[in-house]
Homo-oligomer: 572 residues x 2
């Protein structure tokens, strides 16, 4: 038997920050060495951040990534980490093109490189656009154990590198990942990693990125599975974490090299002799978070990293006292602290008194700034000069608010948050250049019914911990209203939110057609009405700046639809 | 020898409009029959429009496309067009997934189907996301001649279906296309089609879509090449056109079927006997347009179809008298007629007198509507209420203009055009939610220096035709200014436009790095300055609604960049 202490470095890399990410890799390897690890694995493209999109096609960036990798190898040796085997994801570029690559570093040098074989090209992934698939599998023998490496999608497709490693023979497989959070994805990861471990006939260690990158959030959830299916270790979600685990394995002493299952297998021996016996650490298996906690943490992580990685320090948004802005305020306070949160009440003649008091109440509870800047005079100038009525008059109110927020952003440097939810955006219950104004929309992927559930959950958590619940009960219970006309409530224009969200989920996430929805038991009139709203919203969306499309990423499928589109599902 | 009259239907399909596109196919086949054609070919996905993006993944849409195809077959027979062989591109979906397909229709039935083999996944194309590649090649014998079909990218890659058709033996190859306009692409198409004709050992007829679809413009440019390399026929660009051509070919009487070069070749005989001899039509070879004419026509086509296909009838935009809005006005008048064009002067205290008179002058020349709506009072309310200074004060002016345009759009139903050019957008010389407001930006892919060239060209064309030149000389010759501060001119903040555009072209279109640009002879200080401007513009772009990225499509490469990105080229 041979012992091995592995460390999975679940870190938060930033796209393009080669210097910062290099530092991160050296620091976390140092920590792993202090914890006695012999092998440290970093996530997919940890050196460049992920996804780099069209930066992958820029040769100067790929060259910088390769240089940074060589420098990291030197820095690791200089930091006294030369003895450990370090696996790092990076962007490579060779004579065939760009590669989503991993390097095996030891003693200041790169021992081997491999490139991702299965390139995902669905949902949020466009890797067929960027990368050339890899077909080499370097295996390194360390302390007598044979270690192979695969990358992310390589385990989500049947066949390919895991099967080839199993055929060639390995004692341990490392899988490095940039696997974005999706609701309930953690339920799929454990069984998948276990299945691939069985396929490889060796334990599999899965290390994932953590943190936000534009429209994606990585949840970490790094884990290790035995070939028997047992989960040996699991990291907590949404935090940087070093998952250290001790193996005691029976070395296979494998020798197969050359062509195996379509891959070119090579072997490098670093050390044949197993380590002297030592007291192993117990395995630590963190529990995945439950539904609302998981979503809340994903939203806080996405917001915090968007603000931080784009060098903002504070946020500003319209604070109406309604449920959407209340939840955004509570998320922002959790992400950045109340002192970085600037709520602005912008009452018009149609704003109710309770809107103003609920917003002020919430600001006090979370320690945020709050000010009132009425929009009446601007609205009056536009309405009278241009003779606005009806929808044009409603929209000018929302737009005067958007302009006020952008002016505060320009003057004081805050990032503007848009407070719209997914349901609203899907049915077009939102004003372009009005309440849609903002650099980041924290709840744009959250359906309205889930917004309410999150509010209740967050308040209950606070009560459990003996804290003041952040969201005033009145914001949760009052009937939702845009307050752009006297006495207006959402239910004037929209179906009941429970029903609406159910239809939208099937239509948008499930890609169901009119017939499927009716067959699923929804009333044809309701389906017709909702599909017309969504179609009309797409029509309104044409007045966005060209190129803008609303995409629904972190919490569901990514839809890329043509702007000009005469197809109407509800007529089918 | 056997004669054959072929018609290539260079038509303007609309995405999603199955009913309208079906009608188009029947009408144009009827025209071809009236012209005596035996074969009619329609472009790639002519039945659904192209590109359908994520509609390809919607099963109800694919099912509707298949039904529409069957209906078209019936309608063709009912319209007395049963005798001709009709080739139509459509969306299919079989047990393996969605297909970019072509059907061969004869006598009211589908004789054969094939799917595109090479799926482009670069630049503006994402077909690896949508389609399963095809590997069947049905060949139909009509009047004794064997006809094969391939689809678009199939001829841009070496090997594959054209080589297989050549090996199996065909007398004529039809290539159906949805090939977007790029500057100078017509220079590449002729030689390419000629080369593939040689490879197939048979003439190749290339039929392309025409018209605008969102950010793409199709230029038509359908053509026919002999295996000798001779261009036998060519259609004019940017107009719907039926290109009719007579062949007199020596039938090969080929019989090879089954597996050929990785494809499954099948053969169907419609008729063995050659047609009785008839007087052939002469070949017509249209000259491709020259540089400025081609660009101008592409812009007019893109604008006209965006407005028309989205059911707008008129456009509105800020009309400052500067070169950008002057060119947009002239384009809009060419696309829609002057009566559908609404220019709005929105002077502030910094607007010069010549701005106002130049705009009014242009409106008179093109027969457009023009009104003045000063923004002074609104600006004053925002500035005094929020204490705005500097950039925040400049931006509020641009934003009051954007709001005015959107209010007019809401009140009167016009589509708002954004008048920014590519240079401005690349360096961030534009206000988000201000002058960037609009549903369509006609010159967003046109560098500033080309805007001037187009203005001079359009005026010269008018003079050549004895018409009033649309653009006042003063708009072309005066120094460009945003007029947001007293005495402000662009050259205060930006390098000379000739130099700036040269660097931007290499950096953005050529993906050159800092080192490449300096090696190309640009001064390092200039390169540093321009790259910093572009980087800073990307930073500003973060304040767009999430998901918005500026892409440069029709006139160059499509760049998809991360929003959060710490990489700075100029530091490399």
């Amino acid at each position: 038997m041979a012992q091995l202490r592995l460390a999975l470095a679940q870190v938060n890399a930033c796209v393009g920050d080669l210097v910062g990410n290099s530092k991160l890799i050296v620091e976390w390897t140092r920590k792993a060495v202090d914890d006695g690890a012999s092998v440290v694995a970093f996530p997919e493209m940890a050196l460049t951040g992920y996804p780099v999109e069209d930066l992958a096609l820029r040769k100067s960036f790929a060259a910088a990534s390769r240089s940074a990798l060589d420098e990291v190898a030197g820095q690791l040796a200089a930091a006294g980490c030369g003895d450990v085997l370090v696996v790092v994801g990076y962007l490579d570029h060779d004579h065939k093109g760009p590669r989503n690559a991993a390097a095996l570093i030891h003693n200041g040098a790169v021992l081997g490189r491999l490139a991702k074989h299965h390139l995902p090209n669905y949902g949020v992934f466009d890797e067929a656009r960027y990368f050339v698939p890899g077909d080499t599998l370097p295996i390194v023998r360390l302390h007598g154990l044979d270690i192979g490496v695969v990358i992310c999608e390589d385990i989500w497709q049947d066949g390919g590198p895991v099967a080839a490693l199993g055929e060639a023979g390995v004692d341990l497989v490392l899988c490095i990942n940039g696997s974005p959070y999706e609701r309930n994805k953690d339920d799929a990861r454990g069984p998948l990693v276990a299945r691939r471990a069985a396929e490889a006939g060796a334990p599999m260690a899965y290390v994932n990125l953590v943190g936000g990158q534009d429209e994606l959030v990585f949840d970490g959830d790094s884990l290790i599975a035995a070939p028997s299916g047992e989960i040996l270790a699991r990291a907590p979600q949404f935090v940087e974490h070093l998952l250290v685990h001790d193996f005691d394995l029976s070395p296979g002493g494998y020798g197969k090299t050359g062509s195996v299952g379509g891959f070119e297998v090579s072997r490098t021996v670093v050390s044949e002799t197993p380590l002297a016996a030592y007291e192993p650490l117990p395995g630590t298996v963190a529990e995945p978070l439950r539904e609302e906690a998981e979503v809340w943490n994903a939203l806080v992580t996405g917001l915090r990293d968007y603000v931080r990685k784009n060098n903002f320090r504070s946020v500003v948004f319209g604070f109406s006292g309604g449920i959407d802005s209340a939840v955004v305020a509570a998320l922002a306070a959790d992400a950045l602290g109340g002192a970085a949160v600037h709520g602005v009440g912008m009452p018009s003649e149609y704003s109710s008194e309770h809107s103003r008091s609920d917003a002020a109440d919430l600001a006090r509870r979370i320690g945020a700034h709050f000010q009132e800047l009425p929009i009446g005079r601007q609205v009056e100038v536009f309405v009278s000069q241009l003779g606005l009525t009806g929808l044009a008059e409603e929209n000018i109110q929302a737009r005067c608010r958007g302009m006020t927020l952008m002016a505060l952003s320009n003057q004081h440097g805050h990032l503007v948050l848009a407070t719209g939810n997914k349901t609203e955006l899907a049915v077009g219950y939102s004003t372009i250049y009005g309440d849609a104004v903002g650099g980041f929309a924290p709840i744009k992927d959250v359906p309205k019914t889930l917004v309410w559930r999150l509010a209740r959950w967050r308040n209950a958590e606070a009560e459990k911990n003996g804290e003041v619940p952040p969201i005033p009960e009145n914001s949760i219970t009052k009937p939702p209203s845009a307050e752009l006309r006297p006495g207006q409530v959402d239910s004037d224009s929209l179906p009941d939110y429970e029903l609406l969200d159910a239809v939208l989920d099937d239509y948008i996430e499930g890609d169901s057609g009119f017939g499927d929805l009716v067959a699923a038991g929804f009333a044809p009139e309701l389906v017709e009405r909702v599909l017309q709203l969504v179609d009309r919203a797409e029509y309104k969306r044409r007045q966005y700046p060209p190129g803008t499309k609303i995409t629904f990423k972190a919490f569901g499928r990514d839809r890329r639809l043509p702007i000009t589109n005469a197809w109407r599902e509800h007529r089918a």
